[in-house]
Structure formats: C-alpha cells, structure tokens
Amino acid sequence: MEKRAIFRSAWLPYLLVAPQIAVTIIFFFLPAVQAVWYSFQVQDAFGNDTQFVWFENFAAIFHDEAYLNSFEVTAVFSLLVAVLGLAISLLLATMADRVLRGALAYRTLLIWPYAVAPAVAGVLWAFLFSPSIGVVSFLLGKMGIDWNWVLRGDQAMLLVVMAATWKQISYNFLFFLAGLQSIPRSLIEAAAIDGAGPTRRFWTIVFPLLSPTTFFLLVVNVVYAFFDTFGVIDATTFGGPAQATNILVYKVYFDGVKAADLGGSSAQSVVLMIIVITLTVIQFRFVEKKVNY
C-alpha cells in the first residue's frame, strides 16, 4: 500500500511552493543576475554614464594586488572561523550533554550569543579589546603584552576571528546538542560495558553518528565565514591594518557601497559567488561520501 500522501491536483503543489520561490527569485536570483550584468559595465556613481566593457572589471580586479591579498586573508579567516567554531562548539555540546544539573541554564547561556547581530558582536569585542580604552587591552598591557591591533595585522586577525567564531558557536552548539541527543544511549552503554573508554566511545560511535550534523554545519559555517562576517569586520577593523583583515565580502561591500564603484564591486561579488558555489559542490561531492546517514 502506498504510504506517501499524494497531491492529485496539478497546480496545488506549485501554489504551495510559490511564496518560497518568489522570495528566492526576488532576493537571490534577480540580484545575482543584476550583479553579473553590472560586472560587465563601468558606471559613474549616479548611473548617468554607462559603458559595456566586457571583462575589463575582472581583468582590473585580478590585476589588483589588494584583491589577490584578500583571497589569502579570506582563506585564513574562513578556515579558522569554520574549524574553531565547529571544534569548540562540539566540545561544549559533548560537555553540556553530560551535565545533569542545571542543564537548561547552561544551554540557554550557550545559545544566547546567536541572538546578537554580527555588527553588535563586533562592537562588543572592539570595545573589550580597543587599544586605547579596552578593558582586556589594559589587562594585557599589565601582563606585558603589546596589544595594538590598529597597527598589528596578526592581532587584528585574531580579534575578528574570535568575534566571528564566538558569534557562530551557539548555532553550531544547538545542532550538535540535538545531534548528540538523538544518538541512542543503548549503543554507548553497550560500548561502555565492552570496556571502551570515553575517548574511544566518542571517536568510534558518537563522531560517526554525528557526521550528518557535522557536514551540514561545515557547509553552513563556510558560507557564514564568507558572507555573513562583514558586519564584524565593519564594526572593528574596517579591513585594516594594511589589509590584514580585508576579506573578500568586506571588499565587495566597501568598493560597492562606500566607494560607489559598482562595476568593480559587482565583478568581485561574481567571483565570490563562483567560489562559494564551487566550495559547496566540492563539499557535497566529496566530503558527503564520508557521511553516514
């Protein structure tokens, strides 16, 4: 007997997905197409004078060493944010999963940062670590550490990675915790009776069973690090010092929104789009094969 519900109507399914399709088209596809269109043009700020220039914008950005540097910065930044974000939240989730008393309080506190907007997170961290007025900078100074990220690129990178990771840990935590709780206790208890220690149990049972969650989070975190983090950068380092934290998406924002260079900015966003599509395809084709559903 057929168990699935089947819609006999020809138009009802389309009607039901229509709102979602409309949102996707209006907010994702149309702007993307427009970005591709603009990336072939050179325009003055007010759009009074538009020339079609084929690939000149692309040639210009790949000729720009600042842009090439931005690739390197983005690679380092995204890798750090994704890996640290996943590792720390997995650790926290396994710990929280074992807590018996006050579990709700721990979980609530750990989930809180997710409600904070990226720009606000950036400002919070910027205040704490501000070289002139920050509390943490003051304490670091007392400990003899010269904390001045307005001039030191490595420290600036450390700051934005911390802020961006902190912001994403809650989200990852939530999914990991749900994933952990769906693992049958009996499996773990059986392993324990057979004499497997906590580390062994984690790597041979928990981690493989968590892999669908981990994979999903990997995709989400990479996309987050690439696109969603410009608020953190804009509230703290503005891409500086000397481009040390100038990630691709921030450069797109700066050139397009602040400097009114639409052609160059669009070309950059097309490149960014291609990178993220490629990364996602790679993840689904190769990494997903290792996932046990």
């Binding site: 003055d44 700020a45 004078d49 690129g153 010092p241 602040k258 260079d261």
Partner: protein, 435 residues
C-alpha cells in the same frame, strides 16, 4: 519623547494646508550637538519666511548618506540638498545632470552671489578651474597641532613654545620620552594630516593638474623625496617610541585628551571635545613644518563637507534653495555656527565679525585653523584636491601608511605602492566619467 515630537510635527505639517509651502529636503550627516545646530539653522530659515520649508534629515555617516542619495537619484527621488564630504567632491562634480552647480543656481534664482565673499581656501576646494563655485561650503575644518602644556612643563620644556618645525618637534619628543611620557605623539586622520595637508603646507603637489582640479587625467605624485623623507621620519619616530599610531579616524583624539599622548595632530574640529575632556592645559598651534623645504609653510587645506544641490528639481524648489544658501551665508549665523561647532566660518565677513566680537580672546586657539588656512594666498598645490573615487584612494594611502608604520615596508616602497595603486583607481574613474 523625540518620536512623539516628530509625530506631533508631522500632524501639524499635515494639518497645515491653505498656504502652499515648498518643501526642501536636506540630507545631512551631522550627529549629536552638530545635528542640533543643523536643526537650529533650518528652523531659523523656516521662521524667517513663509514660502519655503527646509526639512533636515539625518541619513547616516558621510559615505552612507551619499550612497543613499545616489540610490535615491537612481530611483528618481533624490533630496534637493545633500551634504557631501570633501573626498566625494570629484564624484559629485562629474555627475553632470545629477547635480545643479551652485553658481548656476544663484544665477537662475537671481540671488546676488559673490564667490569672493567666501574664505578662499574653503571656496577654492569646491570651485572648478573656471572659478565657478559648484557646491556651497558648509562645515570646514583643517588639521592643527595640539600640545599638552603640563606634559611640556614636566619634561622641562617651555610650555608656551610649541615646536614650530619638525626638528624642534624631535628635540621636544626626546625630552618628553625621557621624562617618562608613555605616548609622546599621535595623529588622527593620517592621510589627511601627513599626505594631503603635509603637501599643501609645504607647497608640494599631491597630484598633477593642480591636484586633480584641472581634470580627471591627474596622477598622484605624493612619492616625491620630500614625502618619503617625511613618512620615513614618522617611521623613525615610531621606532624611537615617539609616535604611536592610533587608527585611521579620530581615535587619536581620545589618547590626547586622556593625557596618554602629549602631542596630537588632528582636525581643528576636535577642539570642543578636547576642551571638554582634558584635565590639563593645552595649546592649539600651526602644524610643524620642515624648514629645509623652500616655501614652507604655505597654507593648509580643508576637510569637512559642502552642500550639493541635486538636479532635476522644479524651478520653485531651486529658488528656495538659493534663498536658503543666502541665509546660510549670513555673518551672524556663521559666527554662531563657528562658535558652537568649532568649524571655521565660511565667509570673510563672518571671520571679521568673530574677531571684532572678541571671540578669539575668550577662546584662545579657536582662530588657529583660519589663520593656517589663510597663511599665504593658495597656490595650485594648496588650493585643495579633487581626485576621483578618493574614498578608495584615501583608503589605499591609509593602508600603505599602516604598512610603513608597522615596519612591513619602508617609507619609499609604501608611498610608491600607494601612488601606483592610487593611479589605477584614478584611471578607472577617468574611464567611467569620460562623457
């Protein structure tokens, strides 16, 4: 409370029919006390006549309000008046059709208008090579040199003799450091102070074609030996612990008024804040100069913003804008604006009036900015600058300066790279604004 007030104002505006009042939208970026002053000006104008109503709207920081206006223009509902920061000048100027030049506006409206009435270094910044004023000067400041007199006293220096040259500066810096001063010197707005104003103050070109005022074919030239020497000097200062880099904007000002740093170069507009916060005696001075460079000191250039009139509006609206600009140039209003905000008055008459009223005896240092701006009649190197996409251009300069100050590059390489990257931006702007 504010919301209620504006709601009340809205209701009042809606309920007020009978007389047809032409509304003039004015988008600006003035916050806090400055925003209050903008409202005072608009209200004053609205009360002075019945035909026009200027409505000031805060649209975010300079880049944001400019972006908003560009988007609004593309959508066909730009404001009549837009406050644009000085680095956006070239972009606005080449937007033919999108703007209405002020000289044209005044001519069409039949308002008497004499560009010579405006302070030369201020008006020059917004005037084209034919001598036609394109936008209305509004808030202008320049970079000045602040000294913590108490720190000077403690270091055994004469607190009333601020260093005039960079040589004297270095001597004082050494003594301050020896006296245990943690941070000797810092600067706000590095590009504006150490490239743009350094060039004007020493009568050196920042770029060809009169710093870009002569056309979009301009090239940057701020990697001359004199420029390299100046930046190298700062790098050496940093190595000695005499110079602490604080950031690209005005972060340095807090380091000065907290007493952490003994000397500061930053906007003259910082005075009000310093006066309010500093728990020590300080002086406002001319920027130091290199006495081995001939012709120095010349005069410094302004920063701040001007008011642009957007294109495609009705003649009646333009009449109102012209009347408003005339009101804005009124000496009494300018003096009040000058005293309340720390920006320089924009007309010669207003400066004379402020002197006559004894304002500068009351607040010593408040006239340093104007004196420095008008130190000598401006040359092609010190009239101002007009580089396309200078929002990006200045960013490039800041980045390369940071690379030099952090020791990643030497001064020459950093400035050469800044010029090369800056020129690429200028060429892109030229290509986009051929017409």
């Amino acid at each position: 409370m504010k919301l209620q007030l504006s709601a009340a104002a809205l209701v009042a505006a809606l309920a007020l029919p009978a007389h047809a009042v032409t509304e003039i939208q004015w988008w600006h970026s003035m916050t806090g006390a400055l925003g209050d002053q903008v409202n005072i000006i608009a209200n004053g104008f609205n009360d002075s006549q019945k035909d026009y109503k200027v409505v000031p709207v805060f649209k975010g920081q300079y880049p944001e309000s400019m972006t908003a206006a560009i988007a609004a223009y593309r959508a066909g509902n730009a404001p009549s008046i837009l406050q644009v920061f000085e680095v956006g000048t070239a972009t606005m100027m080449s937007a033919k059709g999108a703007i209405k030049p002020v000289y044209q506006l005044m001519k069409d409206a039949g308002e008497p208008f004499d560009p010579k009435a405006y302070l030369a270094p201020v008006a020059g910044y917004y005037t084209n090579s034919k001598g036609e004023m394109l936008s209305m000067p509004f808030n202008s400041s320049t970079t000045v040199f602040y000294v913590n007199k108490d720190a000077f006293k403690k270091a055994g220096l004469d607190p009333n003799a601020a260093p005039k040259t960079w040589k004297e500066f270095a001597a004082a810096a050494g003594k301050l450091k020896a006296s245990g001063q943690q941070c000797v010197y810092t600067t706000g707005w590095p590009s504006w102070v150490h490239i743009e104003n350094f060039s004007a103050w020493h009568n050196l070109p920042i770029g060809t074609l009169e710093n870009g005022i002569g056309g979009t074919k301009t090239q940057f030239t701020f990697n001359s030996p004199a420029h390299v020497q100046h930046i190298q000097m700062l790098v050496d200062f940093a190595k000695n612990g005499w110079f602490t880099y604080a950031g690209r904007k005005n972060e340095a000002e807090a380091k000065f008024f907290s007493g952490e740093c003994a000397m500061l170069t930053s906007s003259s507009g910082a005075q009000a804040n310093i006066r309010k916060n500093a728990k020590f005696d300080f002086s406002v001075n001319f920027l130091p100069y290199h006495d081995e460079i001939k012709g120095a000191p010349q005069n410094s250039i302004i920063g701040g913003a001007s008011l642009w009139v957007m294109g495609g509006k009705k003649p009646d609206e333009y009449k109102g804008v012209a009347k408003f600009f005339k009101y804005l140039s009124n000496p009494q209003l300018q003096v009040r604006w000058h005293e309340a905000t720390g920006y320089v008055p924009i007309t010669n008459e207003a400066f004379a009036l402020a002197q006559k009223e004894g304002y500068y005896q009351k607040v010593p240092g408040a006239d340093i900015a104007i004196k420095q701006l008008t130190y000598k009649p401006p040359t092609p190197n010190s009239k101002g600058l007009r580089f396309g996409n200078f929002v990006q251009g200045r960013e490039v300069i800041e980045e390369e300066l940071e690379a030099a100050f952090s020791g990643k590059k030497d001064a020459k390489t950093a400035l050469d790279d800044a010029v090369r990257r800056g020129n690429e931006i200028l060429r892109r702007f030229e290509a986009a604004n051929k017409q």
